[in-house]
Symmetry: D2
Subunit: 279 residues, 4 copies
Amino acid sequence: MSSNLVLRFRAADRPGIVARVASLVASLGGDIRAAEVFGDPDTGGFFCRMELGSPIGRDGLTAELQPIASELGLEWDVKDLAQKMRVLIAVSKFGHCLVDLIHKQEIGQLPIEIVGVVSNHEAMRKTVEWHGLRYHHLPMSDGKEAQEARFLQIIRETDTELTVLARYMQILSDSFSVALDGRCINIHHSFLPSFKGAKPYHQAHARGVKIIGATAHFVTADLDEGPIIEQDVRRVSHAITAAEMVAIGREIEASVLSRAVRWHAEHRIFPNGNKTVVL
Amino acid sequence: MSSNLVLRFRAADRPGIVARVASLVASLGGDIRAAEVFGDPDTGGFFCRMELGSPIGRDGLTAELQPIASELGLEWDVKDLAQKMRVLIAVSKFGHCLVDLIHKQEIGQLPIEIVGVVSNHEAMRKTVEWHGLRYHHLPMSDGKEAQEARFLQIIRETDTELTVLARYMQILSDSFSVALDGRCINIHHSFLPSFKGAKPYHQAHARGVKIIGATAHFVTADLDEGPIIEQDVRRVSHAITAAEMVAIGREIEASVLSRAVRWHAEHRIFPNGNKTVVL
Amino acid sequence: MSSNLVLRFRAADRPGIVARVASLVASLGGDIRAAEVFGDPDTGGFFCRMELGSPIGRDGLTAELQPIASELGLEWDVKDLAQKMRVLIAVSKFGHCLVDLIHKQEIGQLPIEIVGVVSNHEAMRKTVEWHGLRYHHLPMSDGKEAQEARFLQIIRETDTELTVLARYMQILSDSFSVALDGRCINIHHSFLPSFKGAKPYHQAHARGVKIIGATAHFVTADLDEGPIIEQDVRRVSHAITAAEMVAIGREIEASVLSRAVRWHAEHRIFPNGNKTVVL
Amino acid sequence: MSSNLVLRFRAADRPGIVARVASLVASLGGDIRAAEVFGDPDTGGFFCRMELGSPIGRDGLTAELQPIASELGLEWDVKDLAQKMRVLIAVSKFGHCLVDLIHKQEIGQLPIEIVGVVSNHEAMRKTVEWHGLRYHHLPMSDGKEAQEARFLQIIRETDTELTVLARYMQILSDSFSVALDGRCINIHHSFLPSFKGAKPYHQAHARGVKIIGATAHFVTADLDEGPIIEQDVRRVSHAITAAEMVAIGREIEASVLSRAVRWHAEHRIFPNGNKTVVL
């Protein structure tokens, strides 16, 4: 088997789709090693992800599948797991998610290639450059429109497939969000939908919750309202100050964000309206 | 040692309070077996709970402490752990929290005496009476005012110390909430402050969260806004329907509510503005 | 669609199995609504579970699949989700898992029919009979061999598909374990493989662990060594006594056991050597 | 108030200890801001930790308390929270715990001063030196005795208060362990007491557990048997390979170890026989 591929598709549910696709894969010598199929009873959406060993590569399989995919009305793609996803990271002053992503990438835990780091501050330059990565300082002083235009240009120039907002403390314009639809993941430092907006740990502290959390979600034009990919939580008590919540939260944020990035890089996440399916 | 007591107090923080109280306890032959002290840096509130072995009983210790408590401006009480808290449970049609509380009381896991069960439905009568408990059917058809008056009368007649809303699906009047201030615990079937109000699991499902939860809180006039006592959560996935969330949530609700009831019966919970301190 | 079926199989991994099976299902008008496929890279075992809407029922689909299953060397079956699994529960003196299973069955959370309760004690008779279930007292005073013979006879007479040891504090003979291979689930009150054998919470307390747990596993001749189905845990502290661990543990045990029973009743669990695959 | 101190002591339980100590503190103008007292019913041991605002500093308070401490037979000390604990980190080839500790120290989340890093390999030198820390390469090729002698010498020369084995893959000699008794924390990459010794994730994978974990414990002469300080866990499934468990486990290890180090640096941990009390 020359290639380790992921074939995934979504379709309107109708009988026979899996059979048709699996049969074609088999006829081409492909071997399904793992698969998951989910039919959403609420929307009728039908989602499938298959891991294949395949004697023909990504492009070949794509060409072969094209006719059947058209006939069945699939929204689909084939990915080669050997080809690492190109990721651009955006950060402001807090480096905990950035450091975690870089470390996990370096030790082989994340199937990504970090193509650079964008920041509205200089704070992380030294760290980023020491790891041999390119640092793009995009100050807000240039104006939001110019800054975002430059940001989008970097995304294009670097062939970025996924932009990760790793505590990038800027509100994006609608047009920027739309341009990156489904290709931009943010980490919000609360257990959404609780505590949207600014200073969520301080909000959580003021409300007296007994558990805090973090949420990785796709960026959409609605701030903190995009489809949720992953969440996690940690217990706190009355004795934990807001500042301590911030510290505890950093671990949750880094962990949740890195899982969302890994799942995306493994081609596991399907947007499903305002929700996600993770297969 | 004749008695196993809990002495607890709150005060404005000022030096020497613990020393004064501990010294008086020691002079009376009391033995501190466990204690926790928490000074809230935000409010200056100072909270203390001590478990004592004491040669004199609750009433004796109360009398001895009265002068020093007045002098120091303590809000305080002494409780005898041998005296089980008198609990009235309110329920509508769903019995999972009720059954859990009764079972835990019967096997000695909750230091409470259940003085009866109130319901706006007849659904749980058979279960309750089989366990030898009194069932009070208070239908809403009598009108909310009359119904709540009867509810309060039962609380008084049974010397109820704590009223537990164990999935009692009625919105309480302000006056009822105020009358039970600090003596009424509700279980809300969401991870507050997310998903207040009706059908929280359906709200959670619609939002696509990856973790659901439940919250035990003191009842106040603001619906689902009272001080949070305890919360817990469980992971869900895209494949979990709203109905399955309801089922998974039942376990969380019963577990969280029984912990809140136990802590209250062990005299561990201090309201602290819109928050709680649990010692 | 007349039937809601589960088709599951395991096989030695070789290309084309999913395609063959899915194609036959499709040719019979069946509709795959959810599916999961797992190939174990360590053993080469290949596991598949499909939920189908099918115009032909369980027996019909079984007959149609027989030739292909033989050809492909599948270990397989078809189940009708409308047909509740017949479950016999065994218990000694502690009723928390029993009460939890009965309650969840009664409110429709477990797709099982409880065909009776077996016990070496009389302690749970009243509870069981109040719920309208048959209670079989099988005292150990008759001798282990006779007692187990009677137990097996009840399993046969009631057409029991799954025997659940819900804190049944008897060590089973090898022959009994072998007779129920893959059809008997036990709850062990520790996070296996830690603290096998008697009084695990007391072992955990003596060791000073900070987290306790419970484990549901298939019963095999090796005590507490069978394939693990599900585990869960809860944090404890130095201040938690062994008796309190027992109390906390009851909730974990009931929760873990009910999940294992539900998964088995939904035909999700595949033994895989000394491990399980849960699809 | 000039100083933010921690006063902690353990004693044989007898009435009046808290009163005596708190009274002396009060008479010196000290202000108890938080405190916790735990009497172990199994051993009769009595543990107390107080956070104090104090007009006199650490040395002054120590001198004043000496007579009463002697009289009461306390094992005790006073610590100044402004004085960061001096920590030496030992590591082999895996840097995830090291990187995490350094990052948390740098952003002010750990009240420690890292006095250097010891390693039997060169792998981490570049990282450590980039952060401005001293790297001591102590190869095992010198022989275990000489290597440990040099290690102990570095501990002495750097006034190390806590040695952290952050995935230091060497078995320590008994004499080394004894020399660091209560001043050396190890992270073991399993949920102890399960899976002691080498390759615990591979052991966990082979056993088919559904939850994996990590354990921080004091080092004693008995390998992986020292008093447990903290543990945490993460769910896994049949689909997680041993290599993926290693990756998931890294996060748990770093998180658990950093909590143990923080608690130690905040003077919260009391060894209690083969267990710990964390106040």
